[in-house]
Point group: C2
Chain length 347, copies 2
C-alpha cells in the first residue's frame, strides 16, 4: 500500500474525501466512510506521518528525554519506564505517541534537545533530571515548545513542572527520627548540581532548627548517588569522631552500599544506626533489614505529567482544566525495620 492516492483510486473516490473519512471529519456520507475505513483496514493503509506532519505542522509525537549516561544505566532503576505507562495512558486518548529520546552521553543535553525539536521530531517534550540552572528550560520557553519538567529549577521562574517532595521527605524523616529519640542525624546529598539536593538539605536544616538542634555541616555527606556512594558515605560516617545515630539517604540505591560498609564494621543497620532511604524502588525492596523509605506510584506520576503537559498545549487544554498548576508530589512513608528502634535504649 503506497498512499492515500492508491486507496482513493481503489475506491473510485477523490483523495480529499478519503482523507476526510479517515480523519472523522463531519462532511462525509456514512456509507462512504464505512467503505473507506473497510478498505483501509483491508489494504493495511496507515497514513504516512511525514506527509501529515508536514501539512499540519505537528507530529503527534511527545518526546520523553532521558540521559543514557553510564551512571544512569547503573542507577536509574527503570524509573522512566515506570512513568512511561502513566504518560501513555493519557496520550492514548488523543492518539499521541510517546517516544523516548535517549541523549547520548557524549552529547550536550541542551544541544541534543535543540536538535530534536528543531528537526520537528516531536511536538512537545518531557524533560527530567532538571539542573539547578538548566538552559533547556529557557530554550523551550523561548521557542514556545510545550514542555513539562520533572524537577524544579531556578532557571525560569514560571514553567510547568512536577517535582517530588524532597523537602517533605527530609522533613518527615527528620521528624520521625527525632521522635525516636535521635539528636545526631546525618544526611547525604548528591555531588551534582541537581536542584533536589539543595532543597533536600535546606529542609533538613529547617527541621532540625525547629527542634533546636544545631546544624552541623560535617553531618552532610556529599557523595555520588550510587551504590559506591553509599559505601563511601558509610565510610565517612564511621570516621566521624562523634558518630551519628541515624542517617537519611537521598537515594535508595545508596542503602545497598551503606549496609555493606556498615556490616563490614559490625555496625548493624536498624540496630546500631537508623537508616531512612528514599524511594521504594525494586532494588531497595530486598534489603535486610528492610529499608524505611517513601513510596511513589510512578504510574500516577506519569499520568500527572501527561495531563500537565497537555494542559499547556492549546489544542488539548480544554480537556485538562486545572491541570496546569505545578505539583509538589507527595510521598508516603513506608516504615521498614531499618529505623525501627528507639535510640534511648542505645545510649
Amino acid at each position: 500500500m503506497k498512499g492515500i492516492r492508491q486507496l482513493a483510486e481503489h475506491l473510485n473516490i477523490s483523495i480529499g474525501t478519503v482523507s476526510r473519512a479517515l480523519n472523522g471529519k463531519p462532511d462525509v456520507n456514512q456509507e462512504t466512510r464505512r467503505r473507506v475505513l473497510a478498505a483501509a483496514e483491508e489494504l493495511g493503509y496507515v497514513a504516512n506521518q511525514s506527509g501529515r506532519s508536514l501539512r499540519q505542522g505537528e507530529t503527534k509525537v511527545i518526546g520523553l528525554m532521558i540521559e543514557s549516561s553510564k551512571e544512569t544505566v547503573e542507577n536509574a532503576d527503570n524509573f522512566f519506564l515506570g512513568v512511561t505507562s502513566g504518560l501513555q495512558s493519557v496520550f492514548a486518548r488523543h492518539k499521541l505517541d510517546l517516544l523516548m529520546l535517549p541523549c547520548p552521553s557524549d552529547e550536550d543535553p541542551h544541544e541534543y534537545l535543540k536538535r530534536m525539536v528543531a528537526r520537528r521530531i516531536v511536538d512537545a517534550m518531557i524533560i527530567s533530571d532538571t539542573q539547578r540552572v538548566d538552559r533547556r528550560i529557557d530554550f523551550l520557553s523561548r521557542a514556545k515548545i510545550p514542555f513539562v519538567a520533572l524537577g524544579r529549577s531556578l532557571s525560569a521562574s514560571n514553567f510547568p513542572w512536577i517535582d517530588l517532595d524532597f523537602e517533605g521527605v527530609a522533613d518527615h524523616a527528620v521528624e520521625r527520627l527525632i521522635a525516636l529519640g535521635h539528636r545526631r542525624i546525618a544526611i547525604t546529598a548528591p555531588s551534582s548540581e541537581a536542584n533536589l539536593g539543595y532543597l533536600f538539605i535546606e529542609s533538613y536544616r529547617r527541621a532540625l532548627e525547629r527542634h533546636d538542634i544545631p546544624f552541623d555541616p560535617s553531618l552532610v555527606i556529599r557523595v555520588r548517588s550510587s551504590e559506591q556512594g553509599g559505601y563511601q558515605a558509610a565510610h565517612e560516617l564511621l570516621l566521624l569522631e562523634e558518630r551519628p545515630t541515624a542517617v537519611i539517604l537521598i537515594y535508595e540505591l545508596m542503602a545497598i552500599g551503606l549496609y555493606r560498609r556498615l556490616m563490614e564494621s559490625g555496625v548493624m543497620p536498624g540496630r546500631d544506626l537508623a537508616v531512612i532511604g528514599f524511594r521504594d524502588a525494586p532494588r531497595a525492596r530486598f534489603l535486610q533489614p528492610s529499608l524505611s523509605c517513601f513510596r511513589i506510584s510512578l504510574y500516577d506520576l506519569g499520568v500527572a505529567l501527561g495531563r500537565m503537559l497537555l494542559a499547556t498545549m492549546p489544542v488539548y487544554r480544554e480537556f485538562y482544566p486545572g491541570d496546569g498548576r505545578n505539583i509538589i508530589w507527595p510521598l508516603e512513608l513506608m516504615p521498614g525495620e531499618s529505623d525501627a528502634f528507639d535510640v534511648g535504649a542505645m545510649v
Copy 2:
C-alpha cells in the same frame, strides 16, 4: 527561523543552492557554502525532518522497541538503556538518531510495531523479547523493513539476530557444578513462550546426559522470571523429596527471592545449596554471598546490534562488511561465592 526559504532569502541565494550547501553536495562554491553554513548556524536553522523525510522517503531514525509492561518495569533492570549507548555510538557516525519506542502494555506488540513502521516514524527497527513464534519477524521480513532482533525465534528461518548464548550458559553452569561434585542439579525456566527458555533447558539436558546423569523433569522449575518467581522456585525446591544440591537460575533477579526463601528455612546459599545466576546485572551484585553469574557488556552488545542492523541496509552495507552474520553472544563466567563449595564435604 521558519525554513530553508527564509534562509535563502536572507542570503540572496536560491533555495536549491542552500540545500546543496547544507547537505555537502559537491557542486557548490566553497565560499558560498561557508556563508550558508555560517548563516544557518547564526539563525539556528535546522532542517525540518518532516519535509526531508517526505521527499527522501526515509526518516534517519532507528527505533528500538521495548515493552513497557508492569513486569518489564520491575524486572528489566536498565538492560535497554545499556545497549542504547552502544547502538548510538554506531548510529552517530551516520547521523542516525535512535529513538526508543515503548509499546504500551495494553496494546498488542505486533499491532504497535505495524503502526509505527506504517506511519514511517522509523526507517529500521531493533526488536527484543523475541517470542518463540513472533509475528513481528514475519511482518518485518515481508514488509522489507530493515531490522535486527535481540533473540532467536522459530518464525523465520533466516533473519538477522543476535542472541545471548543461553545454551553456553546452561552448559557451562552444569559442567562447573558437576566438576564440583554435584549430581542433582535443578534449573529454572520461564513460564512464558520466550524462546530462550527452550534453548536453556535443552542445553542443560544435553550437558547432563553427557555425564550420564538422567534428566529429571521434576528438577525443571517453571516460574515467572522475577523476584517472586525466585522465591517460589526456592519453595518448590525445598518441597522436593530428594533435594537438589545446586540450582541454575535463568534470571539473576530470581536469586534475590530465592536467597530469601532459602534463608527462611535456614538453608544457606553457597553452603547448603549452590546457586548460579545468569547476568551480572546491578541488582544482583549486592547479594551476600555474592552470586556466581555471567558477565555481559551491554555496550558491546549494542555496538554489535547496531552494526548488524546497518549491514542489512543497502545504504550503509558497505561500511559493515562481515557484520551480517548472526551472533550467539558469548558470556563469561564471573565466579562468586554462591557456588564455591565442594559438594563432597556436604554429603
